[in-house]
């Protein structure tokens, strides 16, 4: 009796994590995602190799495999920035509401486990699957690149790629958390899928238009006079608004990390350029440059997960 009533917090979480992981890996959804990401990976590698001859800078050639576009095929980096969210959304959009609809949530919460281990288990399992996909694809792409082109990666390049992949996992996990949040709030899986896709499309496509409109309204640059006094502020505001979008934040951060020639992410005045010696940034300096981006996106991910966590914990369990 005493042994039975002992609190078993971690046991429940472990069992839930394993079950969710097995669910994901066995599902057709996972296979489709793998094909999608695999296909884009191969396509982007093909584009990169054909565009490689046009790369002027022969240093950091290996990184160009990830960042070069050619034959009008986007680079792996921009592909992932655009399609990565799909992985997160697909894995999470029905996390909670399908359990609710299927009557399994009732059964689950009646077991002697902490209620939060249900949602933590789902998030961790989803993130594990995301990490598996991203690292496999990223490292696999590099491996194929080595074989095909014969370009050897330097130590720093390997580190840069690992930072890039890790950050991609955080980015996709953010979208996973968002879709889990929607699955807590929305009753039907279809609603939560649509809502999270809408958010993704907004950030990926419309956010830049919206921030442009706002920036132009606040700091008009219509004629020469206004352009002269307002263009600096206009650009800064535009950039600031754009950075609200996780898509932009991520793109900016990873293009800095994967491209050692990027020396600034903000507007640079002529003053600042005077006497500057052109050269590469070390990995540490690149990281420093986008550190606010990295922490910002990690914070966004935690906020999104926190939202779904609180939403789930406060929700009534009853189905009707």
């Amino acid at each position: 009796m005493e042994e039975r009533t002992r609190v078993r917090g971690l046991t429940g979480l472990k069992a839930l994590f394993h079950k969710e992981l097995a669910d994901h890996l066995r599902s057709r959804r996972f296979l489709i995602l793998l094909l999608l990401i695999g296909g884009t990976g191969i396509a982007s590698l093909y584009g990169a190799i054909s565009g490689l001859s046009d790369v002027e800078d022969s240093n950091y050639l290996f990184l160009s495999l990830y960042t070069t576009s050619g034959n009008s095929i986007p680079s792996f980096m921009s592909f992932i920035a655009l399609l990565g969210p799909i992985i997160g959304l697909a894995l999470g959009f029905d996390a909670v509401n399908s359990e609710r609809a299927g009557g399994t949530l009732n059964r689950l919460v009646a077991q002697p486990i902490y209620r939060d281990s249900i949602i933590i288990g789902k998030f961790l399992a989803g993130t594990a699957v995301i990490a598996a996909i991203i690292y496999t694809m990223g490292i696999g792409l590099g491996a194929v690149g080595v074989i095909v082109t014969g370009v050897k990666p330097s130590g720093e390049e390997v580190w840069r790629i690992l930072v890039f992949l890790t950050f991609t996992v955080v980015y996709v996990a953010f979208w996973l958390a968002i879709s889990i949040w929607f699955s807590v709030v929305c009753r039907h899986a279809a609603t939560s899928a649509l809502a999270s896709i809408a958010l993704w499309v907004f950030f990926a496509i419309f956010m830049s238009l919206v921030s442009n409109i706002i920036a132009n309204a606040v700091y008009p640059v219509g004629d020469d006079y206004h352009a002269m006094i307002n263009s600096y502020n206009n650009y800064t505001l535009n950039l600031g608004l754009n950075r609200i979008s996780p898509y932009y934040l991520y793109s900016e951060a990873v293009s800095t990390i994967m491209n050692p020639t990027v020396r600034s992410v903000n507007i640079v005045t002529m003053d600042q350029l005077v006497g500057a010696v052109s050269g590469y940034l070390s990995l540490g300096q690149s990281l420093l440059l986008v550190w606010p981006h990295l922490t910002g996106l990690a914070a966004l991910m935690l906020i999104a997960f926190g939202g779904s966590y609180i939403g789930f914990m406060r929700q009534e369990i009853r189905t009707n």
Binding site: Q111, E316, R318
Partner: protein, 370 residues
Amino acid sequence: MKETYQNACADLPESVCKTIGGGTGMSENNRNVIEIAHLTKQYGDKRAVDDLNLSIRRGEVFGLLGPNGAGKTTTILMLLGLTEPTAGTALIEGLDCARHPLEVKSIVGYLPDNVGFYPDMTGRQNLRFTGQLNGLSGKELEERIDGLLERVGMTEAADRRAGTYSKGMRQRLGIADVLIKDPEIIIMDEPTLGIDPEGMRELLNLIRELSVEDGRTILISSHQLHQIQQVCDRVGIFVEGRLIASGTLSELEEQILKDGSYLLEVNVHPCDDKLLGMLSAQEGIEKIQKEGNTFLITSKQDIRGQLTKFLGEKEYTILHLHQRGGDLDEIYRRYFEKAGQNDERNDYEEKKKHGWKHGRKNARQGADRA
């Protein structure tokens, strides 16, 4: 304990309380497994559960009866610590359900209404997952799963995907799922809903078995009276968040009859309005209703003998004569009337009266209504 019951039936005539209180007094040394005191749950303006007091003894099968929306599920959720009570306490084995939900849930098995399983996993995998959540593993778990599948008759279908199961199979797997943790107390929410008669018989046998052979305490919530009266030791009638009566079937029945309204069904030939007039003039008859060819006669005492003689003298042939009462359906109806539910639920009652004559059909109607 007596006090608890006094509260439970504060609105009822004293005689009821006496009956019920007396019933529990006999087994005072039997410790109560579930103790609910002044439990209240408020949703906005609506009181889902209103000052509920209830004790359930070890090893008994208790039926919580009431129409949909009476607050049965809310009560159950509070017992499991899944919903916070607005006021009052619920104790299971002396543990406060709101404060120690984990300990409570490890000794209570809960079979929700419309129990669901992960459709892509087999029945066995579903059970294994529940076992793991309860900290079981390895050989012990596998043996227990095999034993339970055997017990609920699901061995054949165990390795099929749960998505292909019928409602009855899901219900049986649900019982195996509840038993995985070897609970002392089992709570079932509407277990008989939407099950065919054969499945129902098996289910009721299983419930009996769990109570008698395993000695588990079972709490069943339902609005389907016929099924419940076959297995319950005691029932509580629950309307609009209040427990308006509780006790064994015979106690409730006795109480109803003591209240002095006998209801007699009479079917005679020829069936004419003249008889209606003559009967109304008879002594002892309070009210006569005509339903089709059947007269419903309400009286203060048993007038069967008197009536037979009277009808014989007037040369009427008695085709059907039946004293209502004695089954849960009737008891249920009477208590509703008493609780002032009658007007609101005329439609409901009408259906029930109809269903009453057709026995089995009643169950089906219950399901439709749900």
